[in-house]
Symmetry: C2
Subunit: 351 residues, 2 copies
C-alpha cells in the first residue's frame, strides 16, 4: 500500500498531519481502513506492507495495526518509482518471486470482492508470465482527471482477459476523453500494479537506471531495514519520478487487465461528491444533516454546527472546526492554490 500524499486537495479536512487516507468520507470508514479491507481479501494480513512518509508513519502504524517492520518509512518524497522500487527491493530480499499488488491507500472501490478477484487474476498472470500488470478500469464517463491506457492485442490463450498495452495516455482534455469513450479500447489507468519483485526490479534496471542506482544500497540491506543514513543517502540521490513515466510507459513487458469496476481515486471534492451520488438536482451532506433550500448540486460536510444553504449551486462547503471552506466544486482540482495562499499568509497552522 502506498500512503503518500499531502492532502491539500481536501483542505480543510485533510491536513499535513492528517492526509486523505485518514478521511472518513464514505460509509463511516476512512479510505485507509477500506483499503486494508480490500488488501485482506487479496493476501494474508501479515503480508500487507505500507510505504509512507515520515510525518504519517506513527498514525498509519496505529490505524493499520501493522508492526514497524512492515512499514517502509521514506525519509523524503521521491514519487512512486522510488516507493515501489524500495518495496520491491525489500520484498525481493525475502522472496525474489514474491508477487506484489500495489494499492493506493486513498482510492475508493465499492465492490471489494470483485476487486480482489481481479487482483488475484492479475497476480496469477504476473507470476506465470513475469510481466507488469496494471488494472485498466473500463471508463464510464469522459473523465479528464485520469490517465488512460489504450488496449493492445490479447495476451494469449493461457491468460484469459489480459491484454498487451498499446500505449499510456496522459490526462486528456475533454474532447479527447470523449473520443476515447466513443472509440472504445481505452481504460482508466488506476495505478494498481501487479508484478513480481524480480520483474519490476529488472524493468527499473532496464528503463530507469537512475532509480535502480538509488535502490542498489537498499537492496544490499538484504532482509533488514537499511540503516537510516544509508536510506537517507539513497533517497537524496534518487530522482523524483512516477513509476508510470519511469517504467510503465517504456517497458515492453506491460499487460493490462480490463475490469468493469466502480473505482475512484477520490482526487478532489468534486470526485468525492460524484462518488457520494451527487447528481444534477440533488445535494450531498456528510456528518451533521445540512439544510438545502432552493439549492442544488452542493456537497456539505459539517460535524457539529448546522450549515444552511440558500439559493446556491455547485458549491462545496466543509467545516473543520478551526477553518471552513466555501468553494466552487468545479474548481476543487485547483484547491492547492488556496492552501498555498493560506501558507503565504502565515497560516501554516491551518494547513
Amino acid at each position: 500500500m502506498l500512503a503518500g500524499g499531502a492532502g491539500e486537495r481536501f483542505w480543510p479536512r485533510s491536513r499535513r498531519q492528517l492526509p486523505k487516507p485518514f478521511l472518513e468520507v464514505v460509509d463511516g470508514k476512512s479510505l485507509l481502513e477500506a483499503t486494508l479491507e480490500r488488501a485482506r481479501r487479496i493476501t494474508a494480513p501479515d503480508r500487507i506492507w505500507i510505504v509512507c512518509g515520515r510525518e504519517h508513519a506513527a498514525a498509519l502504524r496505529r490505524h493499520a495495526g501493522l508492526p514497524a517492520s512492515r512499514v517502509l518509512v521514506e525519509p523524503m518524497r521521491r514519487n512512486t518509482a522510488m516507493a515501489v522500487g524500495w518495496a520491491a527491493a525489500r520484498l525481493s530480499a525475502i522472496d525474489p518471486d514474491a508477487v506484489l499488488v500495489t494499492l493506493a491507500a486513498d482510492h475508493r472501490v465499492p465492490d471489494a470482492a470483485a476487486f480482489a478477484r481481479a487482483c488475484l487474476r492479475g497476480a496469477a498472470a504476473a507470476e506465470k508470465a513475469g510481466v507488469l500488470v496494471t488494472l485498466g478500469i473500463r471508463p464510464t464517463r469522459p473523465d479528464t482527471g485520469y490517465g488512460y491506457i489504450q488496449l493492445g492485442p490479447v495476451a494469449g490463450p493461457g491468460f484469459p482477459g489480459l491484454h498487451r498495452v498499446r500505449r499510456f495516455v496522459e490526462k486528456p482534455d475533454l474532447g479527447r476523453a470523449r473520443r476515447f469513450l466513443r472509440q472504445g479500447g481505452f481504460l482508466w489507468n488506476a495505478g494498481i500494479f501487479i508484478w513480481t519483485a524480480r520483474a519490476i526490479l529488472e524493468e527499473i534496471e532496464a528503463c530507469a537506471p537512475d532509480v535502480a542506482a538509488a535502490l542498489a544500497p537498499l537492496r544490499a540491506a538484504k532482509r533488514g531495514m537499511p540503516p537510516p543514513r544509508v536510506l537517507a543517502a539513497a533517497y537524496r540521490k534518487a530522482p523524483s519520478k512516477a513509476i508510470d513515466v519511469a517504467v510503465m510507459e517504456k517497458s515492453r513487458r506491460v499487460w493490462t487487465l480490463p475490469v468493469s469496476l466502480g473505482w475512484s481515486d477520490v482526487g478532489t471534492w468534486a470526485s468525492l461528491a460524484c462518488e457520494l451520488g451527487l447528481a444534477a438536482g440533488g445535494n450531498v451532506g456528510l456528518g451533521n444533516p445540512a439544510l438545502f433550500e432552493e439549492s442544488e448540486g452542493n456537497l456539505v460536510w459539517s460535524e457539529k454546527r448546522l450549515i444552511a444553504l440558500f439559493g446556491v449551486e455547485g458549491l462545496v462547503v466543509v467545516d473543520a472546526g478551526d477553518a471552513l471552506l466555501v468553494a466552487r466544486l468545479s474548481r476543487s482540482g485547483d484547491l492547492r492554490r488556496l492552501v498555498e495562499a493560506l501558507r503565504a499568509r502565515g497560516r501554516e497552522d491551518l494547513t
Copy 2:
C-alpha cells in the same frame, strides 16, 4: 425609536431573541447604539423613548440604558400605526405639542450630524405648521427595496427646503425605479417621521378611525403606563396597519424634507454588503479576516474560525457558532423562506 422586527432577514446572526438592532455590523457598533447616538444629537437623553416588543424589552432597556418608564412594550405586534400611535398618546399626556421624531433602531446613517440638522429643520416645520413631515432621501440608485415619495410644490416662504408630497409609491420594479431616477423629483421614503403628538393623533383620528379607537383607552391612561390588561385589550382590538398606509398616504397635511444623505434600512445581507462598500471586484469581511482566493463580490462574517473562499462570487457566508449560512447575496431578500424551512424541520432553537 421603533425597535420591532423579527430579524429573519439576517439569519443566522439575528435571531428572535437577538434582532437586527443588536447586530454589530458597522464600525464595531450595533445599529441600536448608532441610532441612540443619532437621537442624542437631536434631543436630550431623557427625551428618548423606545417602542418595542415584549421579547426584546429587557435587552433594549439594558443596551439603551433607558428607564422602564420610557420603554413602551407592545404586548403583541400590530405594525407601525399602533406603535407610533401609542407613543404619540403617551407623549401627548405629557405635552400635546411635543414634537416626535420617529427613528427606526436598525437603520444606518453614517453622517449623524447632517442627519440631526435635517431632523431639527423638520421638527421646526412640524411644530410651526402642524404638519406631518417625512424625510425624503435623494436616491443614488434605482433601488427596488424602498418605497418612493413624489415631490409636490414647495411648502412656502417660511419653510425653506420643505415640499408638499404629491404621492407615495410602493416599492417599484426595476424599470419603474429607473424611470423615477431619470425623471427626478422622487425620493426614498425612509420612514423617518417628524410631527407633533397633536398632529399625528388628529390625523390618525381622521384617516384611521380603527387605530384611533384602539388608542382611546391608552390615551385615557394619561401620564402613567396603562394597566397591562387595558394595554392588551387595546392591542388585541387594534388593526395591524403600517402608518404609511393608514395615515401618510391619506392625510392632506404631509410634507417632506428632501435630503442628500447616506442612508440605508440595512434590509438584507445584500444591502449590508452594499453599505460596507462591496463593489464589483472586491469582497467584504466582518470579524475575523477571511481568505478570498479567486473570489469576488462576497460578504463573509465570522467571529472565530477562518473562512476561506475559493472560486466563488456573489455569496454571503455568515458563521454564528451554532449555525452557518451560505447564500447567494442577490437572494438574501428571501431569506425568510430559509428560516421558515428551518422551523418546519423542528429547528426553532436556531431561529
